[in-house]
């Protein structure tokens, strides 16, 4: 396996994964740090390496809108964006999901303005939480690429038909050069069937998309989206296993664990910080600490049951969020984990730390400090959720 590895930029690995997934239409608008993905795709198209229409549009809003039209016409579609671009798409994200169009998008996670900042956190995709899109978060470059065909398979399932975004941390994953295996065309063709939807815009069989629903019918549209998310909950696991069968790689389905089974302290997080946490856990384990990691791969649908099962031996749960709900003083993962534990008999303190905003580095030492802080609850000291690693001169 090692000799199949090449060292490429994260964006290239993702663009290549898109190429071998054989989309019919790609539409995108440039924004840092997403640009390298769409530049690579444009080059593939320019070199005739993809049998695909590449659309340059005048805004992210038109990028997603064009894909809504293309997907409704029966095309497999792809876009990528980040931060302000994703925020500009917000209205259309609801629309794509409501019309049950399985558009796939890579969100290269970046902070939101103001103040303007091009570096990584996850406020952008977290802020689209309720738009009805499946959201998977990738830990490294290989997973960012491998998630692309997985998401097509999940999203295009006739029992799901929801749009989906794969989230990769900006610069940390998009611009890093890592050894990866580029997805093979032959394996991808074996793994991912051609897209042939039954309900499309077709003059031979005219149908209306995006009708007007009054109070007597609107609720059921939302209900069916929620039901589709419940189907996705199982399908994400299955597809991760099917991917493993074909390619021999597995990242967890909904969640993954690292030294988790017997862990009394459990750290939960999403995205590239997982690697740093694993290193911190290795250090702490060697010092005798009973600590493990729960990686949340699927944020929507939210894997409440899987999480509850995975942390049943925990004495303390620490959530790390690269986002904040301003006015709640918590990140989304913290709030959701707390919520999923409430109607159960299981009681464990959940301590939310918000960290790594706007690209601020998260070193191993910081993870260790947070563990030390969280452990105070074992001594009966109340530890509040908070933004950590603040500069005293600015705070």
């Amino acid at each position: 396996m090692r000799n199949r590895m090449v060292v490429v930029e994260g964006s290239f690995a993702v663009a290549h994964a898109v190429k071998v997934s054989r989309p019919h239409v790609i539409s995108a608008y440039p924004i840092t740090p997403q640009t390298h993905i769409v530049e690579d795709l444009a080059q593939f198209a320019a070199d005739g390496e993809m049998n695909c229409e590449y659309m340059n549009v005048e805004s992210e809003f038109s990028a997603i809108s064009a894909l809504i039209g293309a997907s409704a016409a029966g095309a497999r579609t792809y876009s990528s964006t980040t931060s302000q671009g994703l925020a500009l798409m917000h209205e259309a994200l609801f629309n794509a999901s409501g019309m049950r169009l399985p558009i796939i998008m890579t969100v290269v996670n970046r902070a939101l303005s103001a103040p303007i900042n091009i570096w990584n956190d996850q406020q952008d995709s977290i802020s689209q939480r309720d738009t009805g899109w499946i959201q998977l978060y990738a830990e490294d470059v290989q997973e960012s690429a491998d998630t692309i065909p997985q998401l097509y398979k999940i999203a295009e399932d006739p029992d799901i038909l929801l749009p989906a975004m794969t989230c990769m941390d900006g610069f940390i994953l998009s611009h890093v050069y890592e050894p990866v295996i580029l997805l093979e065309q032959s394996l991808t063709d074996e793994f991912l069937p051609r897209y042939s939807p039954e309900i499309v815009l077709d003059p031979k069989n005219p149908m209306s998309f995006g009708a007007f629903a009054d109070p007597s019918t609107y609720t059921e549209f939302r209900y069916k989206q929620e039901k589709a998310m419940a189907v996705a909950l199982n399908r994400i696991e299955e597809v991760a296993n099917e991917f493993n069968d074909v390619y021999g790689r597995y990242y967890g389905g909904l969640i993954d664990g690292y030294l988790l089974d017997d862990a009394e302290i459990v750290i939960m997080a999403m995205g590239s910080v997982i690697g740093t946490i694993k290193d911190a856990i290795d250090e702490l384990r060697s010092e005798g600490e009973s600590i493990g990691l729960l990686k949340v791969r699927s944020f929507r649908p939210f894997p409440a049951d899987a999480i509850k099962k995975a942390i049943k031996n925990a004495k303390v749960v620490i959530t790390l969020d690269k986002n904040i709900s301003i006015g709640k003083n918590e990140g989304a993962l913290c709030t959701e984990v707390k919520a999923c534990l409430y109607n159960t008999d299981f009681r464990v303190p959940v301590i939310g730390f918000m960290i790594g905003f706007g690209g601020r580095d998260i070193p191993i030492s910081m993870i260790r400090n947070l563990v030390t802080k969280a452990k105070l609850v074992e001594k009966g000291i109340f530890v509040e959720s908070e933004i950590v690693d603040l500069r005293e001169d600015l705070a």
Partner: protein, 290 residues
């Protein structure tokens, strides 16, 4: 039967319903229609019913041109383009205001699609608020005539000229009051390769405040007074103009509608009607209507 089926919820005398019917009559079955948000979308598709006998999609208010361009590109990519026409039918708000950027992008990219603006000169679906297409001194709910106001203070945006500036091979103005002329232009636009545009003047009985039986009459007065010139532009050059044999004073058009009523009661109205007449006179000169 028309491809726009009966039973929709349009007002009696609705200009949108007329326009949509004429468009489908002109183009036929082999098309895909995109509607932005607006009256037409609302009254033709009360779920689970639909009046559309052709494939139809409504996404959002401001993105019809982008959705249409995505459909066109998808059909190409799937090898299904053939002769299928992609037709966006949008109101004036969706076209001149909120959707302008997406239209500019689509026309600049040069997709093979037809965009039809059904212009009833205000946001009728939300209750007659002014748009960039509302004419000078029209009273709307957000540009009402009042003690110190004579109604909408701005001139109507010249959308056909904006589209022509994008290099569109075919731009035409039409009116629901001249059905054969409108259908001929829609057909021509549909048969012309590239992004084409037809701007249809469409009197709204509810918003302009006239009897629903007078939609055609009011539409004809707009043309006969030179308030709405009918012309065709090919590759940026005017190639055909509907000449006026007996040009009427604008007063006849204005008097037929409630939205200009204040011009005939307030003292300042005389001067304001003169300014509106000047617009008509400019149209006559600029487009060579006589």
């Amino acid at each position: 039967m028309s491809l726009l089926k009966p039973g929709h919820r349009g007002c009696a005398g609705c200009c949108d319903a007329l326009a949509a019917k004429f468009v489908l009559d002109a183009i036929g079955e082999d098309c895909i229609v995109v509607s932005p948000t607006g009256c037409l979308e609302v009254f033709t598709t009360p779920y689970p019913e639909s009046s559309w006998g052709v494939p139809w999609i409504h996404s959002l208010f401001e993105n019809a041109a982008a959705v249409a361009s995505g459909i066109e590109v998808a059909l190409k990519a799937l090898g299904k383009k053939n002769n299928t026409r992609i037709v966006a039918i949008g109101g004036d708000g969706a076209t001149l205001d909120i959707g302008l950027q997406a239209i500019s992008g689509a026309f600049e990219r040069g997709h093979d699609l037809l965009y039809i603006c059904v212009d009833n000169e205000a946001y009728m679906n939300t209750g007659v608020q002014r748009s960039g297409a509302t004419p000078l001194y029209a009273s709307t709910t957000t540009s009402p005539a009042g003690k110190i106001s004579s109604g909408n203070p701005q001139h109507k945006k010249n959308m056909p000229a904006i589209i022509a500036a994008h290099g569109s091979p075919y731009v035409a103005t039409a009116s629901v009051a001249y059905a054969p002329d409108m259908m001929k232009k829609v057909k021509k636009a549909a048969q012309t390769k590239g992004p084409t545009y037809v701007h249809v003047h469409a009197p709204c009985c509810t918003g302009w405040r006239f009897e629903g039986s007078k939609t055609i009459e009011v539409g004809r007065l707009a043309v006969e007074t030179a308030m709405w010139p009918l012309y065709e532009m090919e590759n940026g050059v005017i190639t055909n103009v509907k000449k006026l044999r007996n040009k009427k004073p604008v007063e006849e058009y204005l008097r037929a509608q409630g939205r200009f009523k204040h011009l005939f009661t307030a003292e300042s109205g005389v001067e304001e009607i003169k300014k509106i007449q000047a617009i008509a006179d400019w149209n006559v000169k600029n487009f060579g209507l006589e």
